[in-house]
């Protein structure tokens, strides 16, 4: 169950995002790395396989995923692909037992940004985790903002969105009326309604809102 957008906005997301999710079939390493991360102050969820993680109730939307490259069943790369397809904002760091990093990196072109051997120094591992957490946070923030805007703009009618697109371009009610072929008074009514629905009084703030919505792909660009 994904939380509904409403719950998501209320603020639990920020804490959830700080978690490091570790997936590794080698239980001994899984335990050790989780222990070290917890001791270093991270919130950790550990899973012995990709399947177990996917079935878990935990959020798959934000945070950092530390995953073994080679696992029986779903491999690390396959898990990453699946999450990407599901629109997850998790940032992935791969771990591997074998030393031949060069070829593995080439193999996962376009995959994760971080890739470490299991015997990598602590500083390097924590660095990678921190970077991933940061990336996960921004990704999750974007996702949240997008949902919020979608919800906000979802209550507008098609005509109101049309009127909005003219308002943010600085058109007067009369001009908008002519362009859309409707009465000036009707335009005024639409305008009042959308200002009320969006709870944004000034035209400048409306423009900011519109541009933000566009940059997140919620609204088309201004014609």
């Amino acid at each position: 169950m994904h939380p509904t957008p409403g719950e998501k906005l209320s603020g639990s997301a920020a804490n959830e995002a700080a978690a490091v999710i570790v997936v590794d079939d080698d239980t001994s390493f899984l335990k050790a790395v989780s222990r070290m991360l917890r001791a270093a102050g991270y919130k950790v969820h550990a899973y012995e396989s990709a399947e177990e993680f996917l079935e878990a109730e935990a959020t798959k939307e934000s945070g950092c995923l530390l995953v073994d490259l080679k696992m029986p069943g779903l491999s690390g790369l396959e898990l990453q692909e699946k999450l990407t397809n599901e629109g997850s904002a998790l940032a992935v760091v791969f771990l591997t037992g074998e030393g031949d990093i060069g070829s593995s990196v080439r193999a996962m072109k376009g995959g994760a940004e971080d890739f470490l051997v299991k015997t990598a120094p602590q500083a390097e591992l924590l660095d990678a985790v921190n970077r991933a957490l940061e990336r996960g946070r921004t990704q999750a923030e974007k996702l949240r903002k997008k949902r919020e805007l979608k919800e906000l703009l979802g209550v507008l009618t098609e005509r109101e969105i049309q009127v909005l697109s003219y308002v943010v371009r600085g058109r007067l009610n009369k001009q908008i009326g002519e362009e859309l072929g409707i009465n000036e008074r009707t335009v005024k009514l639409h305008r009042t309604n959308l200002t009320r629905k969006l709870r944004v009084p000034s035209a400048a703030e409306l423009t900011t809102l519109y541009n933000e919505a566009h940059s997140l792909g919620v609204l088309p660009p201004l014609p």
């Binding site: 080698d26 001994s28 390493f29 335990k31 050790a32 790395v33 222990r35 070290m36 917890r38 001791a39 270093a40 029986p72 069943g73 771990l95 037992g97 074998e98 030393g99 031949d100 051997v117 299991k118 015997t119 602590q122």
Partner: protein
């Protein structure tokens, strides 16, 4: 003497055959599917393009013929005799000539408009299948879109020719178009004007209102940045037919301006070239329509309209015009290029080269064979003395990387645990219970790393191959018995076929058994997804002719993907999700150390067969 006698015999036989066939078919009456095809050219016999077309047409149609098919060609010469009286005479001539031997297909070729196709065949022969072929720009009239009239309309390739000009001579800024005044000519010019829009840097000039005789003088006034493109001229300013090929023949020999045109009949006159109608292609289409008309008889016969062309250039004209021959597009056909010695005597040169190469190969093969024999002798010696060492080293190399992977897991865990412990120790009141747990885990992982090494060392034991006389039947039987409990648990039927009268081989029992176990377990793994009752593993020993014994393990699983067949013996190659990819690599090393070979192939029905071929003991 003898030869002569034979020869005369042959003659008699041939004569008999001829007379026999003569009596069998006294009168040639066309069968129901025999064709009598009349090709009517609207122009005279001497138009170069039409000559090429007639040749191509006959060649293509003849390809489809049976012996009873017949072809006739008539030329109406309408460029010289274009009045109604001439048409009537021609019509009556055809009626009289073909009376009693009427064709069953008429091809009207290269008429400038569609009037001839509309009138002539029905007026002379009544309802008769007709194919028209033309390069006219005029729209095909609806009256011809009817039963039994087929068409091939091949229009000139304006875009192709303009592109060729730009490609060959990008420095020319002006294209002078020489055109005619008939309706079709005007439409071709319109197409050129349309295409001209795509060449904004080129100035187009159209010459349509002057007789051909005046053109050379006018061309003399053109600058060095111009080329001449001869468009179609069915009618010039005085209403006379000129044609592209004739215009080219008249203008090109004396011209300083490079000339291009659309008609293949103009090639050789001195023009540079053009994207030209390909007569063979056009004839192909007509021949196809002829088959349709005979065999299929579609309700609405097709009319094919296209501008397909082939770029053709004249090598001599390129050189004369100082046009860089490297600019000629690779798809273009180049004509009149002087042939090299290679091109002229290709067969002879190839034959000589072949003989030399064959000789060289024979010598090389003999030398190689000798070297190989020597090497084999040396290798055998080495194998006997250093077999154990070779095996160990190569297995070691293969295992090194797997070892690194296996051992990094516990080492990584130990490292992370140590780091965790360090963090705990920094706190004021370290959690001792947690630290104890950590130390315990470190100890366990250390042990695990040790086990990995032990496992590897088991394979790498410093021990020479201990060769002794081995009865392979007995060894395989023993191994099969060893794996039977496993097979039973996995519901696999196992069958063992022994060979009779086997001589013993010299082998290391323990190593060889390891190989056999490996192959049998692999076979079992391959049948994991088989339905119950279909899991069947067969192990067989048999003597081969070449002083060797084969042991084969055949499973009924899914087989090995064909593209991976060559790689199964490579280290770290595996098709199993949890496999390490070492089993077959080690097996190969062991079998080769015995002087044998190991092979993998897929069975014709299902599953795969792995075969070890081991040499019989010498002496």
């Amino acid at each position: 003497m003898l030869l002569k006698f034979r020869h005369s015999c042959l003659c008699i036989v041939v004569a008999c055959l001829c007379s026999a066939s003569g009596t069998a078919a006294p009168q040639r009456s066309p069968g129901s599917d025999a064709r009598r095809v009349l090709i009517v050219f609207s122009e005279g016999k001497d138009l170069p393009g039409n000559i090429l077309l007639e040749q191509a047409l006959k060649a293509k149609l003849q390809l489809q013929t049976t012996n009873t098919d017949e072809f006739y060609t008539e030329h109406m010469d309408s460029s010289h005799f274009s009045d109604e009286a001439h048409y009537r005479i021609f019509k009556d001539y055809l009626s009289a000539k073909y009376k009693g031997a009427e064709p069953n297909l008429v091809i009207v070729a290269m008429a400038r408009d569609y009037a001839l196709t509309e009138k002539l065949p029905p007026e002379v022969f009544g309802a008769i299948p007709t194919i028209f072929m033309t390069s006219s720009e005029l729209e095909v009239p609806n009256s011809l879109r009817r039963r039994d009239v087929y068409g091939v309309v091949q229009r000139v390739d304006v875009e192709g020719t303009l592109s060729l000009i730009r490609q060959l001579q990008p420095d020319r800024r002006k294209i002078v178009v020489l055109g005619g005044q008939s309706a079709s000519d005007v439409m071709t010019l319109e197409r050129i004007k349309g295409a001209a829009n795509y060449f904004p840097n080129v100035q187009f000039e159209y010459w349509t209102n002057r007789p051909i005789e005046e053109i050379p003088a006018q061309m003399a006034g053109l600058g060095s940045d111009a080329v001449l493109l001869i468009s179609s001229i069915f009618e010039d300013v005085n209403g006379r037919p000129v044609y592209m090929s004739r215009a080219a023949q008249f203008l090109a020999p004396e011209s300083k301006v490079p000339i291009y045109t659309f008609s293949i009949g103009a090639m050789g006159s001195g023009i540079v070239g053009g994207a030209m109608i390909n007569p063979a292609r056009m004839a192909d289409e007509v021949a196809r329509m002829a088959l349709l008309a005979r065999d299929v008889k579609p309700r609405r016969p097709p009319v094919l309209i296209s501008t397909n062309s082939v770029a053709i250039v004249d090598w001599r004209a390129l050189e004369r015009g100082k046009i860089d021959t490297r600019r000629v597009p690779s798809s273009a056909e180049v004509r009149f290029r002087p042939v090299s010695i290679w091109e002229e005597h290709r067969v002879l040169i190839s034959a000589i080269a072949l003989v030399i190469v064959a000789q060289a190969l024979t010598i090389a093969a003999l030398v190689a064979q000798r070297a190989q024999r020597r090497r084999a002798e040396t290798e055998l010696l080495q194998q006997r003395t250093e077999m154990a060492h070779v095996t160990r080293v190569s297995t070691m190399g293969q295992l090194a990387s797997a070892l690194a992977h296996e051992i990094n897991q516990p080492l990584g865990a130990i490292l992370r645990n140590t780091e965790a412990a360090e963090i705990f120790l920094k706190s004021d009141a370290p959690d001792l219970a947690e630290l104890r747990a950590i130390l315990l885990d470190i100890r366990k992982d250390d042990q695990r790393a040790g086990e990995v090494i032990d496992r590897m060392r088991g394979l790498l034991k410093r021990r020479n191959l201990e060769l002794s006389a081995v009865d392979l039947n007995e060894l395989v039987a023993e191994t099969v018995d060893l794996t039977r409990p496993d097979a039973k648990a996995r519901q696999i039927r196992m069958e063992f076929t022994r060979a009779t009268g086997l001589a013993p081989i010299r082998a290391d029992r323990v190593h060889l058994q390891q190989v056999l176990i490996n192959l049998i377990l692999n076979g079992m793994d391959a049948m994991k997804d088989c339905a119950n009752g279909e899991r069947f593993l067969s192990v067989a020993v048999r003597a081969t002719e070449a002083d060797a014994i084969e042991v084969s393990v055949t499973d009924a699983g899914s087989g090995i993907p064909e593209d991976k067949l060559g790689r199964v013996f490579e280290p770290f190659f595996t098709t199993k999700p949890a496999g390490m990819g070492m089993g077959l690599a080690i097996s190969r090393t062991i079998v080769e150390a015995h002087g044998g070979k190991i092979r993998a192939r897929n069975n014709p029905t299902k599953g795969a067969t792995l075969t070890c071929i081991l040499p019989l003991a010498r002496n």
